[in-house]
């Protein structure tokens, strides 16, 4: 029961007034930037790094940064549900059903279940983190390049099929997303690819630029033409506390989302985005009424929102016990720890027990704070978003312009975002779903890198993907998934 003693010690640290204050500040800031499209947790933690030097104590600094990270998972859903714009990448799938719920006047329950699911999943994940950190993280190391390749293939296929309506169009979007991910200097040979002679494109297209263009600008342009108030919900937010029937309907989704999120978050590079999509697909499969998905199924909000929060928490396991950051946000925290003189790794638990247990304990407290903050505050944001669309559209435009500019401080990104925005507008008019494109864009570089690394490891033989058990298992799962969908499609047509 060493973890119990450790946790007690951790609560002693986390409950000190200074640490409570910084946990609260982190959670508050995290929710705010989660709501704001354009500013993600990684960028915010980067901005906080200089502040963290002033704090001095590594525990306090990491408590605040962790709060930003999982707080963003709470906040991201608000924008997805109310505006149909993902507040950050991990809440892309929340748009699908969350926004439909909002359009049907059920924004309150959608927001409520997102916050409650996040709380339950976050708490489950923290408990699991304190119990199983060392042994589980050992398993994540078994993922080499072939396993990553297989995982991205599986993740991508799940992504294209979950957008629903037209698998062919979704596959086209996913392929385009993968191609956009190739733009820039080839990572091995250094050859510029698809830069069309423009040096600004040699660094590749930034995720924020693409996401803001496709979702922010594209959506605004469409609504300007069609006058559809579609993106903004004008109904008042009531019944934030979901009804009993909602709880009964979502209890399995929340638990499943927590487990999926926890496991995916352990994988290096996996993280909250993949966790949310795997959870969405799982809910659709498991649901007795899959036809409701995309039309405002509450499980489609509860599952992914639980999963991304669990993944955000569990990604601290490889970071703290192995010194291996799994995503951009934890990489920032890794750097902060190093500078504070704390080397993340197996020694951290022994030499810096205060950091590990202090941060773990602060996560219990932080999740409780976020639940209390979010249920009432959701109403406040909803009031903010009730501003007529005539005013909201230019404000969204301004936020995206400023957000895109802050990524690289170049006006080029603004131009690029405008071009992407026009494309996103045309795609919407042609009934293409830009969701799979964005997800493929994120997975593309990982996929190509792991493919090329795998082929280097096997001296060019593709057999490496079937001779390694984990990779083979993932690819078989992908094949079964595609076959099942094709068969189901045929049966439906017949």
């Amino acid at each position: 029961m060493a973890s119990f003693e450790g946790l007690l010690q951790g609560f002693g640290i986390a409950l000190s007034p200074v640490n409570l204050l910084f946990a609260f500040l982190g959670a508050l800031l995290g929710t705010a930037i989660g709501v704001l499209p354009g500013l993600g947790p990684a960028a915010t933690i980067a901005l906080l790094l200089p502040v963290s030097y002033k704090i001095g104590s590594p525990v306090t600094a990491i408590i605040m940064m962790a709060g930003v990270f999982y707080g963003a998972m709470y906040g991201g859903s608000t924008t997805s549900i109310l505006l149909n714009i993902p507040g950050e990448a991990a809440s892309v799938v929340t748009c699908l059903d969350g926004h439909q719920m909002a359009r049907k006047g059920r924004a309150g329950p959608a927001l409520g279940i997102a916050a409650i699911g996040s709380f339950i999943a976050g708490t489950i994940a923290v408990v699991a983190l304190t119990l199983v950190a060392p042994p589980v993280a050992e398993f994540a190391l078994k993922f080499g390049p072939p396993e990553y390749f297989a995982l991205t293939v599986l993740g991508l296929l799940l992504a294209t099929y979950l957008s629903g309506r037209a698998p062919l169009k979704s596959l086209i979007m996913a392929t385009l997303g993968l191609l956009l991910g190739l733009v820039g200097l080839d990572p091995v040979a250094g050859v510029p690819r698809f830069d069309f002679g423009n040096v600004n494109l040699q660094g590749g297209i930034d995720f924020v630029t693409l996401a803001m263009g496709l979702f922010g600008i594209g959506e605004i342009l469409l609504s300007l033409e069609q006058g559809v108030i579609g993106t903004i919900v004008t109904t008042t937010i009531r019944d934030v506390f979901p009804r009993m029937t909602d709880f009964v309907r979502t209890r399995r989704a929340i638990v499943r989302g927590s487990v999926i999120g926890f496991v995916v978050g352990l994988l290096p590079g996996g993280g909250a985005v993949i966790a949310s999509l795997v959870s969405y697909a799982a809910e659709r499969r498991a649901s007795p009424h899959p036809e409701e998905f995309g039309q405002g199924a509450i499980e489609g909000v509860a599952g992914p929102e639980s999963a991304n929060n669990a993944a955000a928490t569990s990604s601290f396991i490889p970071l703290l016990t192995l010194g291996i950051p799994g995503n951009a946000s934890t990489a920032m925290i890794f750097a902060a720890l190093m500078i504070q003189g704390v080397t993340p790794g197996p020694f951290l638990l022994r030499e810096h027990a205060d950091v590990f247990w202090g941060v773990a304990a602060s996560m219990y407290i932080g999740n409780a704070m976020l639940l209390l903050l979010n249920l009432p505050l959701v109403g406040v944001w909803a009031q903010l978003l009730r501003v007529p669309y005539a005013y909201l559209a230019p404000i969204i435009a301004v936020i995206t312009l400023a957000g895109v500019y802050t990524v690289n401080n170049t006006a080029f990104d603004i131009w690029l975002m405008l071009v992407i925005g026009v494309v996103g507008y045309l795609l919407r008019k042609l009934e293409f779903d830009p969701g799979p494109l964005l997800l493929a864009f994120v997975l593309g570089p990982i996929m190509e890198r792991s493919l090329r690394q795998s082929l280097l490891m096997s001296a060019g033989s593709p057999a490496i993907f079937v001779t390694r058990p984990i990779a083979a298992l993932l690819l078989i799962a992908a094949a079964i998934f595609v076959a099942g969908n094709l068969l189901a499609g045929r049966r439906r047509r017949a």
Binding site: K169, I172, T175, L182, E225, L418, K429, L451, L455
Partner: protein
């Protein structure tokens, strides 16, 4: 709608052709004894071509009654918004972010939404101030102030 789907698949086919051409001619599939920078683009280009061809095949033949692609009367509004934002990006270097945001929001409300001048001007000023407080004061992001206003 089918006609526009056909146009879209033709654009996609053209994209696929450019990708395959670049992969084969400019990038190369092998690099010594290693997989080269053109391998992944080739696979994706061929895949995109096949999918686009399937989309084209599925949309041949006459479609339902032609609904106009552009909504009558409002087609100019997205165009105007793009022009305003492009103007912002263009003028950024000289007038800076804050003045640019003020003018963008004011112009947007004035031209696209036909708001009264004072409403537009006030909204522009308020938005610029809030963005300044949020990004520059609170988050300490260095947004450019423009060469005309700082010299």
């Amino acid at each position: 709608m089918r006609r526009w789907q056909r146009y879209a698949s033709l654009v996609l086919l053209l994209t696929a052709a450019v990708v395959v051409f670049q992969a084969l001619v400019r990038l190369g599939l092998r690099m010594g004894d290693q997989p080269g920078p053109g391998l992944m683009p080739l696979v994706l280009g061929v895949l995109l071509g096949a999918l686009a061809a399937a989309l084209l095949a599925g949309n041949l033949g006459p479609g339902e009654a032609q609904a106009p692609f552009w909504a009558a009367g409002t087609w100019w509004r997205p165009l105007g918004a793009v022009a305003l934002m492009a103007g912002f990006a263009f003028g950024l270097r000289w007038i800076g972010f804050m003045a640019g945001i003020g003018l963008l929001v004011a112009g947007w409300l004035l031209i696209l939404e036909r708001k009264r001048l004072w409403v537009a001007a006030l909204s522009g000023a308020v938005t610029a101030t809030v963005v300044y407080a949020l990004f520059v004061v609170l988050l300490k992001v260095p947004l450019p102030m423009g060469s005309l206003l700082t010299r």
